[in-house]
Structure formats: C-alpha cells, structure tokens
Symmetry: none
Subunit: 144 residues, 4 copies
C-alpha cells in the first residue's frame, strides 16, 4: 500500500488566494484551477472578465503539471520541432498543455497537486501561478 | 444588442458558501460547481472527501441547469421511458445531466447562472444546491 | 451581478449578410458562424458549395475569437515554434483555432460575440469575416 | 494536507491474480483493470480471448467504482427507470458504468482503489472481481 500526500481544500484556497492577489496587482482577470496530485479538480475560480477558453485551459494546465510532475512551460521547450517530445501537445485529447502557466505544487519533495492559470500572457499566467505557490508555502511554514 | 445579467465571482462565492454549509450540516462532502448563464464555469470546490466522478458531474449538472433553464431533476421526470425527452441524457456527449442536483439561479425572472452539486444522493445534492441559492437570495436581499 | 452585452439574432444576421456579400464578390462559397460573447452559436450558414470540414472549423474559429477575445490569426503568430503560445492549437479538444478567419465583434470596447469564416484561404476567410463586421458596424451606426 | 492510502503495483498484482484464477476456473477469458483511488489505471490485463470492447469497459468500471466509492452494480439498481439516479449511465462521456463488475477496494475503511472486470456476464464479471479482492485481502492479512 502506498501513502500519498494531497492538497486539501484549505490548501487549495491558499493557492487561489495568492494567485488572485497577483492577478489583481497586474490587472489581469485570470482563470485559476487547483488539482490534486492525480490531476483531479479541487477548486477553480474565474475572476470577473477571465476568458471563457481559459476555463478549460487552466484546468488542463493544472492536470498536466500534476500528472506529469513538471511545469507546462518545460513541455513547451521539450516539444519544439525537432525536439524529443514534439507533438505531445495533442496527447490525451489535447488536454496535455505545453503552454506556460501550469506548475506542480511540491511538499517534502513530492508532488501533492498543481495550479494552472490562464487568461494573460503565458508569462503572466506563470507569474500568478508562482505567486499562488509562494503564498501557500509561506502559510504552510507559518503554520509550523 | 442584448443585455444579459450574469453571476459575478462574488455571487458564486455566496452560492458555494450556502451549499457548503448545508453539506457540512448533513455530513456529506460535496463537489459544488457554479456556472454563468451560458453554462461556463465560474467557481468549483471539491470538499475533502468529495467523489472524483462528481468533479465532472457537478459541473455538468450546472451546465445543464443553466443551458436548459430548468432543474436537472425535471429532466429526470421528462426523460423516463415513454416520455417525450426519453434518451436526452446522452446528448451533448453525455453532458446533459438528468439526475437531480442542478438548479438554475434566477434573478428578476432571468436565469443568471446555475449551481450543480454531486457526491450525495440526488436528494441530498438538491438540498445543498437549494441551500446555496437560499443563501445567495438572502444576501442579495440583505444588500438592497 | 454582472451586466453583459451580447449580439442579438438581428445583429448576427447583419454579420452574416456582410460576410456573404463579400464571399459572393470573391467567388468563394463560405461557411460562416456567429457566436455570442461566450462562444455559443447564434447563427450559421453554409453557402452552397461550402466545405464540410468548415462547418466545424468556422464554429471553432468564432468560439476561439469570442472566448479568448482576440483574432485567431493573432494566435497563429503567438503559437509559432519558439513563441510563448506554441502548442495551444490542440487545446480544448482541438477547438482552439489558430488559423486566420475568426474575429471578435466589439461594441463599446467589449467583446459581444464573434464571427468565424472558413472554406477559402485564411486570408479570404479573414476578409469575409471583416466584411461582416464592417457591415454590422455601418448598420449599427446608421441606426443611432 | 491530506494523507491518502493507495494501492501499490504489488497490490494490483494480487488483485489481478485472484481475478484471473477465478476466470480460468469458470472458463471465461476476462479483461481486468485495477485503478487507484482516483480512478487512474495501475494495471490491466486482457486474457487471451478477452473482448476488445471490454478493454475500455473494464477500465471504466474500475474508474467508476473508485471515483464514486461504490459498486457499479449498485448504480445499476439506483439508475433504473423511476429511480433517483436514472440516466447517470451516460455521464462523464459515458465512462460512468452502471453494469455490474466494478468493485471498490477498501482498506481500513477507505477506498484505496478499484477493480473492474469485463467479458463475461455481469454476474461472472462481479464474481471474478470479488475473487480478486478476496485474494488481495487474504494476502494482506497473511502479511500482517
């Protein structure tokens, strides 16, 4: 039997909170999805003005980051023409996202979930996703 | 040009809040989805212990209730064998849900969004969805 | 509660009318889709001789332009190899179109819907989509 | 943070072993799928002569049993015409299986995975799935 660590809904709220705060700062209404370590949705928010297409893309970025235990941005690099993972973007019915904005959430060296952000530029999406993780880590540490 | 009223993220939080409070009361961890009037996701929460299958079903109950402007339960009645909507449950790739737990959210006589709840019995799901709407309506009125 | 502006069916007819007139001028029978601001279909026409594959592609171009609030052509540029949105074309089950021919329809600075055209070259598709918008804007202004 | 118990691959082998032994006894080559508690595949075997359609159905039975924390057979009962879950069979793109043969695997009161069997009659499928669980439980106990 395996023992797995997984984000709780309370953890997901911290991730959402941090990401939203940054989105407000940079003035871009975002779609933000939090999944568990298996890529299954825990929480989602579309800020007023977030893009419709991003309701799916944010979830799939988080699914990809959790499921593959890596950033979606790293897949973008690995899937360029001529690179080994070329074409991987259309795998799993197109759910495997290779655009930046999906980050695994790691605790004690294990992937415990993921955050996916979409509606801005990929760089803005990543910035907000990272802000979510930073906020989560600070709160976790503060709770110790 | 049409003018449409739509739930904001703040409204969605009220719906979530009311539904979660009832779910806690009855001791059933739920998946709760809030969509806008077009069935597009605004907010989602899986309470700790909510079912994996319900992450999709809750969203699709809300999609159905918003999109068809009726409760999913009413579709259950209308789609029984021999009834006019028989077989409608597999429409839209199976997204059209005919199991109770999806309710449209109505303001000033217009559908402005929907709430879909899943993980309990259909009766429990409906009870929590209705509690979400009741809480939302109370707060809306209180804000007037 | 949010208030959203959305194309009416009468508006959609104007968009279709303008796009079809240009399609006749250039001698290319087109598929033309008009969606609302959420990417949901309002009107569609396949001119006699329009391509079967374009019945889907035109709808998805409009869905993308409305949902992401940008032209599909701009996604074509942003998703070239080495660019930030590389690989986005297969997102949302492949519905996210990055080929020119999808344009958001904007009124008073808000996206109120979109037009997607397909069957010609991407340049011809865009030309007809733009002609639809131009006709719509002229009529709107004329009505003021 | 949550702590989750999950079947290991070694556990999955025990489940497969027990199910296959019974399938050989009754002379029905089966497709057997083992998923984790999130419905994600851990192991799968199609015995020589197992049905092609069952390669998907066995997986979806296990997915359903894990994700909804109940037997697929119980869904068959609950989804009969006139019953509360009527129509649930087409949910999640038809992945929600209501035909017997999917059983959750429970350890210390928690669902830790599931087994789905297909190719025989639903009663035979269930018999083999249960044989898999019985074998797993005996070995687990024996290891204590």
């Amino acid at each position: 039997m395996l023992t797995i660590k997984r984000l709780s809904l309370a953890d997901a709220h911290l991730l959402l909170e941090g990401a939203k705060a940054r989105a407000v700062q940079i003035g871009v209404p975002m779609c933000i999805a939090i999944t568990d370590e298996s890529g299954q949705l825990i929480a989602f928010e579309r800020m007023d003005g977030g893009k419709i297409t991003s309701t799916v893309i944010a979830q799939d970025k988080a699914y990809t980051a959790a499921g593959a235990k890596r950033t979606t941005e790293s897949y973008g690099v690995a899937s360029q023409p001529g690179s080994p993972a070329y074409g991987i973007n259309s795998a799993i019915g197109g759910r495997l996202l290779v655009v930046a904005g999906g980050l695994p959430v790691i605790a004690d060296g294990e992937v415990v979930g993921a955050i996916g952000v979409s509606s801005g530029t990929p760089a803005q999406d990543t910035e907000c996703a990272q802000a979510g993780i930073d906020h989560f880590v600070r709160q976790q540490t503060g709770n110790d």
